[in-house]
């Protein structure tokens, strides 16, 4: 009986393991492509030498790899994974396929926080001019998450209410940012628009370390509740009857996902579609067993943002487009094709 059950289980999970491994390999490959492309093209051998034997390459290559491209390429992987995980868990706990940091207004709130700092110079914490923009963005992202949750709690915490509250907040912060843009000087306006596009240029090793650390801390927390989160997709009543404290689980995950989202968007600006599309790709590939859904979403998000990062350097030779523009250009047609081709049952 045990052997038979194990065989059946392995048949179901075997393909999912293969998907996770394949995507992990794809992330590594695209990461190298992202490092390789740019105004000065590098070969894979040069990149490997620069990373593992920095003294064996010329100083210019070493500077390009270590100071410019590697942190940006890694930031694309980490932010892509963070946004996709955030989207996956938001879709899970809100039971809504449209939930993502972007569609819930969290990115818009971060944009407003950044615009507030860039236009009016208003900082939430008067510490370090260098970090005033990301701190503001992070603060407003978290504030919005809490606001959405508070509104939904007042209205009995239904998932539909949370999504509706998020959409309302999205419009509110977009209008507030537009107002700031309206009163901004030409230079300030340029800075705000540039931030709102979303880009990875401002990446430093410190910023990368902060986002990566939050991702590394968050993933085990989410993984610990993987089965409970999977059960949540059977509906609140069923999950409760299985002994799961649904309200507590939802609050806990929402707080962690808020921190993850805040950290991801505060340094790179508004990057849409990754948080929406990444989980949908994962769902089609491995289903919603969170033990596979979570890593697959993260890897799909990382692949998408890394690919967008590489493309942003290739579309117009000699120019690096803001990555937020590229993700939307890739994301929209891709998402529409997913919707058109989707098999029944996947929302």
């Amino acid at each position: 009986m045990v052997t038979q059950a194990e065989e059946l289980y392995q048949r179901i999970t075997g393909r999912k393991y293969a998907v996770v491994v394949s995507l992990a390999i794809a992330v590594v490959l695209i990461l190298f492509v992202d490092i390789a492309v740019g105004p000065a093209w590098l070969s894979i051998a040069e990149i490997l030498s620069a990373i593992f034997e920095p003294n064996s390459v010329d100083p210019a290559t070493s500077v390009i790899v270590w100071n410019l491209r590697l942190p940006i390429a890694l930031m694309a992987v980490v932010v892509g994974a963070s946004l996709a995980i955030a989207g996956a868990e938001m879709q899970t706990i809100l039971d809504n396929p449209l939930a993502s940091p972007y569609t819930l207004g969290i990115s818009a709130a971060a944009g407003f926080g950044a615009a507030l700092a860039l236009v009016l110079g208003v900082g939430i914490i008067p510490y370090g001019e260098h970090f005033i923009v990301p701190i503001n963005a992070f603060f407003f992202a978290i504030l919005t998450c809490l606001l959405i949750y508070a509104i939904a709690r007042k209205a009995k915490l239904s998932s539909e209410t949370m999504v509706l509250a998020g959409i309302a907040i999205l419009f509110l912060f977009q209008s507030a940012t537009a107002l700031l843009q309206y009163v901004a000087s030409e230079q300030q306006l340029q800075a705000v628009v540039f931030w709102l596009f979303g880009n990875l240029f401002r990446t430093t090793w410190l910023k990368l370390a902060i986002v990566a650390a939050i991702l590394i801390v968050t993933v085990p927390v989410l993984a610990k509740d993987a089965w409970k989160l999977t059960a949540l997709r059977l509906g609140d009543e069923k999950a409760k009857s299985l002994g799961i404290n649904v309200e507590r689980l939802r609050l806990k995950i929402f707080i962690w996902v808020s921190i993850l989202t805040g950290a991801a968007v505060c340094f790179v600006g508004t990057i849409g579609f990754i948080g929406l599309v990444g989980p949908h790709i994962a769902r089609m590939l491995v289903g919603e067993d969170q033990r596979f859904f979570l890593p697959t979403s993260a890897l799909a998000g990382a692949v998408l943002l890394s690919a967008a990062s590489a493309l942003s350097k290739l579309v117009i030779p000699g120019t690096i487009l803001p990555i937020g523009i590229v993700t939307s250009f890739i994301g929209v047609p891709f998402f529409i094709s997913l919707i058109l081709k989707r098999r029944s049952g996947y929302w």
Binding site: R11, I12, T230, G243, N245
Partner: protein
């Protein structure tokens, strides 16, 4: 596991009492069917027993108050199958059944969990469905999976809220036969909320009739399901006969008006489901 309900009262926020003063007892190895008109409190009663609502009064399992147990302990003993199963999750049947043991599952699924899931799959005869996705299943197959989720964690009490909704006759009979068999074999206490009086008569060891949150009658089908009781509860004139020892309830297409007068129609046999 013996289920006892004493002085149970419940009201939703800002509303009147949905359950007024319920006294009930359901025994292991027996199927207890709750019937009653819409909004009589059937679903609410099952949710109270499942621990999803907090009523006043006492619910005991083998003599012990459920209010003294943690939620996960109640979940282990009491399997609840809601009226509407949300099977939108992109999961295979095997994964969904494993979720019935969510409290014991770890990242790496243990051999005991896998064996339990397979045993239930074989018991319910749904081996062919194991690798299929939930959204590919029919209504009856989904009910089977829902039952498997309750059985896989060795629930001692199983509560089913209108499990026959939107099922064809074949599945209705298949599921009720299966429930009856499992109830006797595993000595489970099974409580089902039903609308179909004939199915209640055929499969119940005990019948509970609820009306406006009160128990109108409780006992064996032949003592409870009388034409007088049905008329009093549903306001429908019925003929109750016995065919080979099985009660047959036939509505006579005559509905009593609120004033108590009968509006006579043709005395012909019609749908025997009363209440919808």
């Amino acid at each position: 596991m013996k289920l006892q309900i004493e002085r149970l009262k419940f009201a939703y926020d800002g509303g009147g009492l949905v359950l007024r003063d319920i006294h009930l007892e359901a025994l292991p190895g027996e199927v207890t069917v709750i019937i009653g008109p819409n909004a009589s409190g059937k679903s609410t009663l099952l949710k109270c027993v499942a621990g999803l609502l907090k009523p006043a009064g006492t619910i005991r399992l083998d003599g012990k108050k459920t209010s003294e147990f943690k939620k996960d302990k109640i979940a282990q003993w009491v399997g609840y199958l809601p009226q509407e199963n949300s099977f939108r999750a992109v999961l295979t049947v095997f994964e969904a059944i494993l979720l019935g043991r969510v409290q014991s599952l770890s990242w790496r699924v243990g051999k005991e969990d896998l064996a339990s899931a397979l045993k239930v799959i074989e018991e319910l005869g749904i081996e062919k469905l194991a690798s299929r996705f939930l959204h590919e299943l029919s209504g009856g197959q989904k009910q089977m999976v829902s039952m498997a989720q309750a059985l896989v964690r060795q629930s001692r009490v199983i509560l089913l809220d209108e499990p026959l909704t939107s099922l064809d006759l074949r599945y209705e009979l298949e599921i009720l036969d299966l429930l009856r068999k499992i109830t006797v074999q595993r000595r489970i206490t099974t409580v089902i909320a039903l609308h179909d009086l004939n199915q209640a008569a055929r499969y119940a060891d005990k019948v509970v009739i609820l009306k406006d949150g009160d128990v109108c009658a409780f006992g064996k089908p032949e003592t409870v399901l009388t034409s007088q009781t049905i008329e009093a509860v549903y306001g429908v004139i019925c003929k109750v006969t016995t065919d080979n020892g099985v009660l047959q309830i036939t509505s006579l297409n005559s509905i009593r008006s609120k004033s108590g007068n009968r509006s006579e129609g043709n005395n012909r046999k019609m749908d025997t489901t009363v209440g919808d």
